[in-house]
Symmetry: C2
Subunit: 280 residues, 2 copies
């Protein structure tokens, strides 16, 4: 099967690198950054590159699988520009971590039967093709979201892709996906940025000698790409705003409990620890 990767960054590059060891796939890529393309050609993780997305209309790419793995903010434009492929034999998926705003574009096109959302829950604070790796998706979750209109051959093709990459596939409604990730992934990042903003406001600007490790683990979340996180926060704005309000309520609750009975505070913290140990 032919695979066309649009956006050869950490995710796209890792898909190419992992699948290139199998004879089952012929892999092509499109990226405006020619260094990434050249690097992937040199490593033989791709067999060729596209000059333009219009090339995908060529009969050579019939029945292929197109993966959009660009930064989230660009994905909407790419998706829209690929509308000439909607309801053809080509299968299209993405790798974006927010779905609601992309889903609106699909709705404009009456939910093409050959598009499915993919969200590989894998990544690194490092980005770019040069940091891609063959084990990025192995034993990690990938969430698929698709409309009832999705045709089974396209569902099977995308499912097989993530199986081949070693990923554990879960299916989730697109809206529920964004609600869940607002809490499980976006909110921890918001909290880390907010904590850093708080520290930045202090007179003492270097507190790492005074943190005992906990601070470092927290702040590592801020090492990821600001472009990617600005896109994710913007695309999932409504759910994240609700999650931030919930977090503020919990902070106020803790502040209140800290001022009261130490024993009931200890019980409260102990219950949270128990909850963590049963669920995380």
């Amino acid at each position: 099967m032919k695979i066309i990767i649009i956006g050869l960054g950490l995710i796209g590059g890792s898909i190419a690198k992992t699948l290139s060891s199998s004879k089952d796939y012929e892999i092509f890529a499109f990226d405006s950054d020619q260094n990434s393309i050249r690097n992937a050609l040199d490593n033989q993780s791709i067999q060729g590159s596209l000059h333009s997305l219009d090339d995908l209309g060529n009969s050579k790419y019939e029945d292929s699988l197109v993966i959009i793995s660009t930064p989230p903010g660009v994905t909407a434009d790419i998706l829209r520009s690929l509308n000439f492929l909607f309801n053809t034999s080509v299968t299209i998926t993405d790798t974006t971590s927010t779905k609601t705003s992309l889903n609106k574009i699909l709705q404009e096109f009456n939910f093409p039967e050959n598009f499915l959302f993919s969200h590989p829950v894998a990544g690194s604070h490092l980005s770019g093709e040069k940091n891609s790796a063959t084990d990025l998706f192995n034993r990690k979750s990938t969430i698929l979201s698709y409309h009832g209109s999705a045709a089974s051959q396209h569902v099977d093709r995308v499912t097989s892709l993530w199986d081949a990459l070693g990923s554990k596939v879960t299916i989730l409604d697109a809206d529920l996906h964004d609600q869940i990730f607002a809490y499980s992934s976006h909110l921890p990042h918001v909290a880390a940025y907010a904590l850093l903003n708080t520290l930045k406001g202090l007179e003492q600007d270097k507190l790492s000698d005074f943190s005992g490790g906990g601070l470092g683990e927290f702040l590592r979340l801020v090492s990821s790409s600001p472009e990617m996180w600005a896109d994710i926060f913007t695309m999932n704005e409504k759910n994240i705003a609700i999650a931030i309000d919930d977090l503020i309520k919990s902070l106020d609750l803790l502040k209140d409990k800290i001022g009261k009975d130490p024993n009931s505070l200890q019980t409260f913290l102990g219950e949270l620890k128990d909850f963590k140990e049963s669920n995380y």
Copy 2:
């Protein structure tokens, strides 16, 4: 030199274990948990144990160094009960991570010249003598805080202790210590507990498949002892309340920015990342 460790947990046990390899120290311990005492005797990390803190009045312990390394909430009581040693040839220090409330006790006793605060910025989410280790303090910071009344031989003795444990010693005013740690250490823990409380309130109670690692790093902070954290939060209540309010302001600021221009959001996140990389 004789060292007497009151409270043979992770910190006290690690002090004993590290110093026991040197001929310069004779190490005794007091702990209500006889298993910890027996374990440390078996490992030869201590040479003997005390039956009661009153034993410290014995001339045998003249010129010794007493280290209180009990849970923070117990330290205040121990400190008060050791008042018969104040202004003697015995040196006394602690290992607690909040100082203001203990400082009030010292004030009642007109700041004895033989007491200094120590805060080894080292730890683990594991606790107890059984998890103690010889490398716990190596290359870690230890903060000393002491009143102007502290006599130089006691300052030297405590400084030498942390030097021998491989720690990097910094001196900080007790009140400033608590203000700084409210942000650098206590606030990240408050945020982790608050995030967990937020997740606990959701219908979906297991989000670990949907987090990509960031959540796990965050929540690891909640693995520490609830007893210790309830004590720390309570003892540093006022500073932590201010820090929580600051964090809430930063969360509100971020929420506001997420609803506005994506480019300025990206710039804001990029500046925070730059600040982190220069300072942490």
